[in-house]
């Protein structure tokens, strides 16, 4: 209290400066700069930038390749998220009890999530091998004919979706377990006294009280899908014939293979807006969650 306030201010800013410098240079400045660059034509190997207004966006929104990338990204999200969420909820319900071997199960389900995505992608390339792959042997057991997985446009995205479900499952299980454990026990007891059976408990107690958790997982999963890149770059390079070119891979191609920095920035801005809207939705919804408590 006896300290002079301006000395405190000075100390506070001294503490903040390292963090502010890094975030300023590599987060705040790039957002502004990406917005600016998106208004310029700048092929970095072919001379200086030229201001072209919104022309990059016009090209973008009339580009079949861009819409294919958007479509692929949505397909990836729609294909992997519901499956992953249903499986995760099911597993979390099974795990949410005193069990022997709980630590083992948790380790097994979570291991894919923390493992290097590059390493995991290489392993799945081998699993999807069209001639001697494990996957073809597995589906052969139920009588399905061998597929060409990553080598064919019809199945390439499906291959990435299966990998995506396998890799993201553990994360969703952990979050669902957290959600289940935050449901007060007395609600179950009250419902049981009212004569509810197990299915009714699930339908009328667990499921509604898990809505915020489900919504959280959904948004995070959509955001993650829109950011996926590594498995595409390692396994398919966006092919065959563009069937796995997702939006970040398209950005990468434009900016770092064609060196079209202005156009690439316009793609980045679209990505930014999509994720911003999703995040705002999430905050809006989580704000309502207080009603339940």
């Amino acid at each position: 209290m006896k300290r002079r306030p301006w000395r405190t201010w000075l100390t506070a800013y001294a503490f903040l400066i390292p963090s502010l410098l890094v975030l300023g240079a590599f987060t705040f400045y790039p957002v502004v700069e990406a917005a600016r660059l998106s208004l310029w034509r700048w092929r970095i190997l072919r001379g200086d930038p030229v201001f072209i207004g919104l022309a990059n966006y016009e090209t973008l929104f009339s580009s079949a390749d861009f819409w294919q990338a958007v479509g692929n990204t949505i397909l990836f999200a729609v294909g992997s998220i519901p499956t992953s969420m249903i499986l995760a909820l099911f597993l979390a319900l099974l795990l949410n009890r005193p069990l022997r071997g709980l630590a083992f199960y948790r380790t097994a389900y979570f291991l894919p999530t923390i493992t290097s995505l590059v390493a995991v992608s290489v392993v799945w390339m081998w699993i999807y091998h069209p001639d001697v792959g494990l996957m073809n042997q597995l589906i052969g057991l139920v009588g399905l004919p061998p597929a060409r997985w990553l080598n064919e446009p019809r199945t390439a995205m499906l291959s990435l979706i299966i990998l995506g479900v396998w890799r993201g499952l553990g994360y969703n299980v952990i979050i669902y377990l957290g959600g289940l454990q935050s449901i007060p026990v007395h609600l179950y007891e009250a419902a049981k006294i009212d004569g509810a059976n197990r299915l009714q408990l699930l339908r009328y107690v667990t499921w509604p009280l898990l809505t915020p958790t489900s919504f959280f997982i959904l948004i995070i999963a959509v955001i993650n899908s829109f950011q996926s890149f590594t498995q595409v770059h390692v396994m398919t390079q966006g092919g065959p014939i563009g069937s796995t070119t997702v939006i970040v891979y398209y950005l990468f191609q434009q900016a770092f293979q064609q060196f079209n920095m202005g156009y690439g920035s316009a793609v980045a801005m679209v990505l930014f807006v999509v994720i911003l809207v999703l995040t705002i939705l999430q905050f809006g919804f989580l704000g309502k969650r207080v009603h339940y408590q």
């Binding site: 503490f15 890094v22 790039p30 957002v31 290097s116 390493a119 995991v120 392993v123 081998w126 995040t279």
Partner: protein
């Protein structure tokens, strides 16, 4: 009462799931120990007729993996250390000090967590390209380029601030009476008391950086600067689609550091994720 009846069934379901989750890992290790002629036998064999450990030595020598490991080690440890330092300092200022614009700046930090890393890569790349004109050590294809963008994080500040704010003010008053400055109080009292939060942040930072791909892919272009993930990707390109034994051996040693770390401290990992909801 019904628990005893259903328990074997529950275990059966969980076990089937666990086997499905672990199968790719088992397949990776199995293939990594096979001779080339066994790799392509169909139907696939799970147990190699002899364990060919030399695949590991051969894969290690087929590309400069030693160099990649040193690079990844230096970069991941530097990022972890710097992220902890910058986040702790900023979190202390935001959580325990009064200064003008505090709320505005903190809102800016929170908002920045919504920014996808992928949208910042073009300007960040161009910025480092310009730094390179000042000195090559600050430009593309340098340790600086790999470390600097991750030397601070809004997430770290947010997470540590929560922990720092729980420390009672009386403790700070007493420390000040003892002639301990703010930095002394932070180092001697706050940090030791926040060890769990610091450990969780360190784990996340190390794991995320060891596994990171897009940024090192963009900013490195020499073998001297490549990290393990990029090295593994180039190794796949180099070995084509034939040397699967060697590729699996390389996949094993590239993923091993984080997997081992996880097996030792998995509680910290999963609790950290459950409490922060941090996405991968």
């Amino acid at each position: 009462m019904t628990r005893k009846l259903e328990s074997p069934f529950v275990h059966l379901l969980l076990l089937v799931g666990a086997i499905a989750m672990l199968m790719p890992f088992a397949w990776m290790v199995s293939t990594s120990l096979k001779a080339q002629n066994e790799v392509f036998s169909y139907p696939p064999q799970w147990i190699p007729s002899q364990l060919l450990w030399s695949n590991y030595a051969q894969a290690w020598a087929a590309a400069p993996f030693g160099r990649y490991f040193i690079n990844s080690g230096i970069v991941a440890l530097a990022v972890t250390f710097l992220d902890l330092v910058t986040s702790a300092l900023a979190a202390f200022a935001f959580g325990r000090m009064q200064f003008p614009l505090r709320n505005a700046l903190f809102t800016l930090y929170l908002a920045s967590m919504m920014i996808p890393h992928q949208m910042t890569i073009i300007p960040a790349f161009l910025l480092l390209k310009n730094f390179g004109d000042i000195s090559p050590a600050l430009g593309l294809d340098s340790y600086f380029a790999l470390v600097a963008p991750f030397a601070a994080s809004a997430f770290g500040v947010f997470m540590l601030r929560q922990s720092f704010m729980q420390i009672p003010n009386e403790l700070e008053d007493a420390a000040v009476l003892d002639g301990c400055g703010r930095l002394g109080f932070l180092v001697r009292m706050v940090l030791p008391l926040s060890r769990p939060a610091l450990a969780t942040l360190a784990l996340f930072a190390f794991q995320a950086n060891w596994n990171s791909y897009l940024w090192p892919l963009i900013v490195t272009n020499s073998d001297q600067m490549r990290t393990v993930q990029i090295g593994l990707r180039y190794f796949v390109g180099q070995e084509g689609s034939s040397q699967w034994g060697l590729l699996m051996a390389a996949a094993v040693f590239v993923s091993l550091p984080v997997v081992v770390l996880y097996l030792f401290v998995q509680r910290q990992f999963t609790q950290g994720i459950a409490s922060t909801g941090l996405k991968q």
